[in-house]
């Protein structure tokens, strides 16, 4: 195919639908101010997959994944806070704070951290998701100590400056215009998301509503910083050409001196049951119609909280693979190549979030076909798998791809660190990574059929349709727009 993923789904679902952190289960990361909740303070353990883990006395979790292929290291600090922790009126505050984290501390002037990293040949940035805010550096491994030193500094000693904030909030508005307001598919996704969730904070755009950005104040950020930025609400992940014992020493030296906070978990805001289909249109200047469909589905964390069997999660993953795991999968084969209804069609599911999320479909119709026909064609594929389990060949193909990916991912130290940080921060624990391959291999065709029947229900569906309006500016129209992305700095 010429256009692999012209569909916006992975840009959107992967990055925006995002993942989240867990605060509903005390014990795991609720720490007292004295840090006494952590008994095994600093005993490190190493897992089957070679991940060293330990916790500092102040509650900072540290994960180290040595990989000596290249003399480089990745450092990531993950905070359990993101857009889903926010409430009405301050949407976007996690992301705005992330931007301001580069604007100086009691020890460094604005931009100086970035200058130090650059002068040492490193690259750095940060990103905000629904359930996390994370900061990272990639650097020659003999410079790792610098990263830890300054990350620790800004965890507790940020200096929020009004003049810097005034400029930076304008930068963030430009980011919003560029990522969302001027991108019809992103805009559609933002509105779709806001329509799909009724009371869950997953309805909020990560970058924040423009209205909230206009009224954001420095005090909102300093409150947010005080509330969430503490060692007992963070995970340090280091991967690459490093010695775990040395990392531990540095972690203790720089992060170990920081005071923990009393962290109150966010309100649960678990999504109420949907009682029937929800449907919206998004009319903006555009050229190509676009369809988004989402069904409410559980995530690993929501099933763990309820003490339910986790196998549904892995079956949903395989379902996504059968539908859209490569060019031979059903949506490409049947909708793009055979029926020739779609110019692109995709499906996606991300099991790593704090709360229940959406199993997504998206696509654009071919000329001569309507979005309505595309929706009907996608539903036909859903019904097909609800009526008949996938073939042996399809299942084997998905499992082979997952198995191969588990080898390929070793080529990226950064990606390995991302996985650990995500799992830990959304509250399922980084160890779940070790289970993944095995759990996928155990999924049966009948289980895939069963989850399609159980979750892909008309009454829990939300549909959004981008209805293109003229881009000809001689016909002025007033369009109010908005969206959000995970992204940093």
């Amino acid at each position: 195919m010429i256009l692999k993923k012209y569909s916006a789904l992975f840009a959107l679902a992967g990055l925006l639908a995002g993942v989240s952190a867990c605060q509903t289960n005390p014990g795991t990361h609720l720490q007292t101010a004295s840090g006494k909740a952590v008994q095994t303070a600093s005993e490190s353990s190493v897992s089957e997959s070679g991940v060293y883990s330990f916790m500092l006395k102040n509650g900072l979790k540290v994960l180290v994944k040595p990989d000596h292929r290249s003399p480089v290291a990745v450092s990531q600090v993950w905070y359990k806070v993101g857009a889903s922790y926010e409430y009405d009126g301050v949407t976007g505050v996690s992301h705005a704070l992330e931007h301001m984290m580069f604007k100086g501390t009691e020890n460094l002037k604005p931009g100086e951290f970035s200058e130090i990293i650059a002068a040492n040949g490193g690259s750095e940035n940060a990103f905000t998701g629904k359930d996390y805010t994370a900061y990272f550096q990639r650097i020659s491994s003999d410079r790792l100590e610098l990263c830890l030193k300054h990350e620790a500094d800004r965890m507790r000693h940020l200096q929020l400056n009004e003049d810097e904030f005034k400029k930076e909030i304008e930068v963030i508005k430009e980011e919003r215009r560029s990522r969302t307001d001027d991108k019809p598919t992103s805009l559609t996704y933002e509105r779709f998301n806001a329509a799909a969730f009724i009371n869950s904070s997953y309805q909020q755009p990560i970058i924040g509503w423009m209205e909230d950005l206009h009224s954001m104040r420095l005090e909102d950020l300093s409150q947010w910083y005080k509330t969430w930025y503490a060692p007992n609400n963070a995970t340090l992940v280091v991967a690459g050409d490093v010695d775990p014992q040395q990392v531990k020493k540095w972690a203790e030296k720089y992060f170990g001196v920081l005071q923990p906070s009393d962290i109150a978990p966010p309100k649960p805001r678990r999504e109420v049951e949907q009682m029937g289909e929800r449907r919206i249109a998004v009319k903006v200047p555009a050229k190509v119609p676009y369809l988004l469909m989402g069904y409410k589905v559980p995530v690993l964390k929501s099933l763990m909280d309820k003490g339910e069997n986790e196998s549904d999660i892995y079956a949903l993953e395989v379902l996504a693979g059968v539908l859209d795991g490569g060019d031979s999968s059903r949506l490409s084969q049947r909708l793009v190549r055979e029926a020739e209804i779609a110019t692109s069609a995709g499906a996606g599911y991300d099991p790593y979030a704090r709360q229940q999320t959406l199993f997504l479909f998206d696509g654009s119709p071919r000329d001569g076909h309507s979005v309505k026909e595309l929706e009907a064609a996608i539903k036909k594929q859903i019904v097909a798998i609800q009526n008949k389990p996938p073939s042996r060949q399809e299942l084997d193909r998905v499992k082979a791809q997952v198995m191969a990916s588990s080898v390929y991912e070793k080529d990226s130290v950064f990606y390995q660190a991302m996985q650990l940080g995500t799992l830990e921060t959304v509250g399922v624990g980084w160890q779940k990574k070790d289970d993944y391959l095995k759990k996928i291999q155990q999924v049966t065709a009948e289980q895939v059929q069963a989850v399609a029947k159980k979750y892909l229900l008309d009454d829990s569906l939300t549909v959004a349709v981008l209805e293109p309006q003229p881009t000809d500016t001689t016909k002025p129209r007033s369009v109010r727009r908005a969206t959000g992305g995970r992204r940093g700095h």
Binding site: M1, I2, L3, K4, Y6, R69, S70, P71, V72, P110, G111, E115, A118, A119, N120, G121, S140, D142, K166, K167, E168, E170, V171, I172, E174, E175, R177, S178, D181, D182, P184, P285, K287, V288, G326, D327, S328, V336, R337, E340, T343, S344, R366, D367, Q393, D396, A400, Q401, M403, A404, S405, V407, Y408, K410, D411, S412, V413, T471, T473, P476
Partner: protein, 441 residues
């Protein structure tokens, strides 16, 4: 191929003048297949996998060689290879890769067209993937039905480009800057050219350009040299030798400044400003690379970012880059800003560019850039994926085998005088093309 940032060397580095970093240099092995394709191989034994990438001088710069107003030919040809080959249809070809967990990729830009496969090393996975790749390369069938379908999809993609201010700006920028040169034409084609496109054009394009002498094979993975040799030889065995594509025509530089403002209902104005830059192998390459790094090529450390974003909050992103290609690619400055601050932001960029060409980078700026480039070198080659892409660039552009080994040295040999001199000779603020897409007031 448009690469924002360029490559840098392996081997012994002096970082920052403080510590010496001994970095095992990937050992690049090079030979030719018996039918004349260049092969570049780096053994990498840590992970049981193999990456192979086959690159042809068959990008859209070659579209004009099959006929007039046929842009999109290169992209369509490349895309149709895996739509039917050696008796298998698209579905079967995709299944054959995916059943063994291999990932297949392909694509086509202005200079290069490529096919790539990543596979597990074990022969029971690797061999079927290689056979499939070989069939796609050697025996594509160019079926009418898939041609029609993919052409329709491409037309919608071209249409989608018209809802993106950045895409509109970029297409217009190349069209204006390159005039009659093949680089002026969009790889995706235009509404008109896609109407002209016929299956026979794709077949002719394939026959002329998908030949061994016009190919470079890059391999990185858990293989011995013998295994890699056999692999490359087998993979291309059924391609005819053919001829290497001829040299692209020279590029005419702009003689005066030109500004185009396209009215579009967007919140931001997307700005591209630039001129003809340089080709691969240019004598000023290292001086200009360094000059650009400090000006707009290094994100937060760059002058553009500092003046436009950090000092004034006028944009989320602003940057500059050279795209060295076979023929001189552009030097380009990019900016997106709210429509009503367009004049202010562009004014600052204009002032900074003039000042930079007149005075050159500050001594501190130059030092910072050198430190970043030198110290950051290991990051650029820390995965098989990156190395295999670099091998393709070295092979495709005939860069010397020690190009990477000497890159840091070559950059370090630059000084303010050389950089200032190159800037003055090569960047002409009075002959800039500016394309703006956004709502006029």
């Amino acid at each position: 191929m448009v690469i924002k940032k360029s490559l840098i060397a392996f081997s012994l580095l002096v970082v920052n003048g403080i510590s010496t970093l001994v970095f095992a240099s990937p050992d690049i092995q090079h030979w030719q297949t018996s039918n004349g394709a260049g092969v570049y191989f780096v053994p990498s034994n840590d992970i049981p996998m193999v990456d192979v990438r086959v690159v042809f001088d068959a990008g859209s710069a070659r579209d004009v060689e099959v006929g007039k107003n046929l842009s999109g030919t290169a992209l369509m040809t490349n895309g149709l290879l895996a739509e039917g080959a050696a008796g298998d249809d698209a579905q079967v070809l995709a299944e054959k890769f995916e059943a063994v967990g291999a990932s297949f990729g392909n694509g086509s830009l202005k200079d290069m067209a490529w096919l790539s496969v990543r596979s597990l090393r074990d022969d029971k996975y690797l061999q079927p993937a290689l056979i499939n790749l070989k069939n796609i390369l050697s025996f594509p069938e160019f079926h009418k039905a898939s041609f029609k379908r993919e052409l329709e999809r491409l037309k919608i993609s071209v249409k989608a480009g018209k809802q993106s201010p950045s895409t509109i700006a970029s297409l217009r920028f190349y069209a204006e800057l390159y005039g009659e040169h093949p680089y002026s034409q969009p790889s995706q084609g235009t509404d008109e050219s896609l109407k002209n496109l016929k299956l026979k054009h794709l077949k002719a394009f394939y026959k002329q350009f998908y030949v061994a002498k016009n190919a470079v094979v890059s391999i990185v993975g858990q293989l011995t040299t013998e295994e890699a040799k056999k692999m490359a030889e087998d993979l291309l065995a059924d391609l005819s030798s053919g001829q290497r594509a001829k040299k692209l025509p020279a590029v005419k530089e702009l003689s005066e400044s030109k500004t185009i403002h396209i009215d579009f209902p967007s919140r931001q104005s997307s700005v591209l400003m630039g001129q003809v830059g340089m080709a691969r192998g240019d004598a000023d390459y290292y001086a200009l690379y360094l000059a650009n790094h400090a000006f707009g090529g290094s994100g937060f450390g760059s002058r553009l970012m500092h003046e436009v974003r950090e000092k004034r909050g006028l944009a989320y992103s602003t940057y500059s880059y050279f795209s060295p290609m076979h023929a001189p690619g552009p030097f380009m400055i990019g900016l997106k800003t709210r429509n009503d601050q367009l004049d202010e932001a562009m004014g600052i960029i204009g002032v900074e560019l003039n000042k930079y060409v007149e005075q050159g980078p500050g001594v501190g700026e130059l030092e910072d850039s050198l430190k970043n480039i030198t110290g950051g070198f290991p990051l650029r080659i820390d995965s098989n994926k990156k190395i295999v892409e670099y091998l393709s660039v070295i092979g495709f552009y005939d860069l010397p085998l020690d190009y990477l080994d000497t890159f840091v040295d070559s950059v370090n040999k630059q000084d303010k005088k050389k950089v200032d001199d190159a800037l003055k000779r090569r960047i002409h603020p009075d002959k800039m093309l500016t394309v703006i897409v956004g709502a006029k007031n």
